[in-house]
């Protein structure tokens, strides 16, 4: 089985390595411990040894090329390859990491800081998505309610400094932000028959309050949509002047659902079924609001949410799932 040779991470903060020279050519035999290539990092030039025995089947990067840590740069096969190949990163389809523009002067082991300090590489965003910013920038951003990831989105070079916050403050209100605040609405309607029949059937078996059933259906639908670990449903029943909160009501049998403390609320279910209200477009609460109304023979369901609270996909799946459960409640028990 062929083994991939990857550009190793020789330092905690190293992102790429420059291949100074291959010590093996395609077709060469390789023993464990043989030097495969020399790589230059920020700090020093090191030899990389083979960890597997075999033959060089292919080299995927050339002398003098810089490869990202983890990239496959050679393949060692167990048997002598018929057609050993050598290619360079710059020829491959995958976009190769460009060699740093700043000439890396050989850095001596001692810090010769009384002269000029060694020239720094151009600032790059940390590979793991971490935002680099000075401590003062972070503190001021926190105090002023600014989001540094907006600067990242705008393509401002890291690390961020205090003056970058001015850019952030003067930014036109992003469409993301306004989208986030705007209320979206989905509507569905289902026949009442299914749920009514279910309630009759259930009444013989257990005494389960309606709000618990609704909470369970809502939680199950939401969990199927967003796979959250914790789902807390608050059921408001204004016409009964009642409100109850349920923690993960879909994870226990219907007869065992209990209400109590359930924070933070993932979804607010407003049960207006025993009222004359036939539709609702209310929202603007701390969580999405799913309103249940009656209109003739049908339940009218309305889901109001902001984009900060839920994606469209999650919302659609939630409402559709809830409607389906109301329509065919026995599905919930499956």
């Amino acid at each position: 089985m062929p083994h991939d040779v990857i550009m190793p991470a020789l330092g905690m903060t190293q992102d790429t390595g420059l291949i100074v020279a291959w010590h093996k050519q395609p077709g060469d035999a390789v023993s464990v411990g043989d030097v495969l290539f020399e790589v230059e990092t920020d700090k020093a030039t090191m030899e990389v040894e083979a960890a597997h025995e075999g033959f060089i089947e292919t080299l995927l990067a050339g002398d003098g090329e810089e490869a990202p840590v983890g990239q496959v740069i050679a393949v060692i096969s167990q048997s002598k390859p018929d057609n050993p190949t050598q290619s360079r990163l710059s020829e491959s389809d995958a976009p190769a990491e460009p060699v740093a523009d700043v000439a890396q002067e050989p850095v001596t082991k001692q810090d010769t800081a009384s002269e000029k300090m060694p020239p720094a590489a151009p600032p790059q965003a940390a590979a793991d998505g971490r935002i680099l910013a000075s401590p003062k920038t972070r503190r001021l951003a926190l105090e002023q309610g600014l989001d540094l990831s907006d600067l990242v989105a705008d393509g401002v070079a890291q690390p961020f400094h205090v003056r970058d916050l001015e850019t952030l403050k003067n930014r036109p209100v992003a469409s993301e932000a306004s989208r986030g605040d705007r209320l979206s609405q989905l509507t569905a309607s289902v026949s009442k028959a299914g749920f009514a029949g279910f309630q009759n059937w259930l009444a013989d078996k257990a005494d389960v309050p309606t709000n618990a059933i609704l909470a369970a259906f809502a939680a199950a639908s939401l969990r199927a949509a967003n796979h959250a670990e914790v789902i807390n449903i608050r059921v408001d029943q204004p016409t009964l002047a009642a409100t109850a909160a349920f923690a993960n009501p879909d994870l226990s049998p219907l007869s065992q659902i209990s209400s109590g403390e359930a924070m933070p609320v993932s979804l607010i279910l407003r049960d207006l079924s025993s009222s004359r209200i036939t539709g609702s477009a209310t929202g603007g609460a701390e969580a999405p609001v799913l309103t249940l109304c009656e209109d003739g023979d049908a339940f009218v369901l309305t889901l109001n949410y902001t984009h900060q609270q839920a994606d469209d996909d999650v919302a659609i799946q939630l409402l559709d799932g809830f409607a389906a459960r109301l329509d065919e409640p026995l599905r919930h028990l499956l």
């Binding site: 010769t112 009384s114 000029k116 720094a120 003062k136």
Partner: protein, 331 residues
Amino acid sequence: MREITLSQAVNEALAEEMRRDPTTFIIGEDVAEAGTPFKVLSGLVEEFGTERVVDTPIAEPGFMGIAVGAAMTGARPIVDLMFGDFIFLIMDQLCNQAAKTHYMSGGRLSVPLVLRTNLGATRRSAAQHSQSLHALVAHIPGLMVAMPSSAYEAKGLMKTAIRENNPVVIFEDKLMYNDKAPVPEEEYLIPFGVANVLREGTDITLVGTSSMVQVCQKAAEILAAEGISAEVIDPRTIVPLDEEGLLKSAKKTSRVIVVDEGHQSYGVTAEIASRINEKAFYHLDAPVLRMGAMDVPVPFSPALEDITVPTPENVAENARRLMSGEMIHAA
């Protein structure tokens, strides 16, 4: 105001204190008739006699021991160590005896001793006569360390040191003995642990010790011409250190460079930078930079010697890099 040289300022301080307190005496090599090779003590033996300006053989551990013993038994010696480099010879007397005696005697013995010595390279004195070793003694609990940066500081700090009941090491910069500065005629003392802001600024703080204060001042001039406002601050004593003063400046500008003539590694700059980092972290818009002498024995060759120490141009260059938000030592 009159201007006098650092040498004259030290001389005045010693003379005034020796007149004031008959228990003070000077001891060291060539301190009497020769007035030391740097001529700082000229005239003192004529005024105070050989009992109070005591020449010794070339025996640093010996005369330091004499001074420590004298201090423990009622005198106030001022030890003259001809070159700071010789401090290695007296480390036991200074660090194990003088520094610890008050503590280990439960307060029953005091060591009101002043060790007067020097630092500073670029005099072409080579590796064993050019070291700046103040970091070594600053590290020892029980010792205070003063670093005058001009004639004014030299006189005021010396007087405070002599009146201090605990051991003090004063490092004068041997390159500055002929540098003049305004020094009042009236008596004045400079308290320990109080930094001096020589130049106010808003963009970057330059902390300098001893002659590096002058280097920072010149760097500030260079930067001012480029529109960068640098604050220059002199701690004056590194033990005790005016942390509050340094932090106040760091918080104001959010960028700091610490410049000292000790070696870059494991020195005073590291301590000051660390304290600023610990206590002003959330006010920093750039890493605190250290600039010291190169980690190399001071070269004898003038061309090489001159590049081993921080210069105004180097300091200004680093200041520009911090101002530009460059990622120093990129992650």
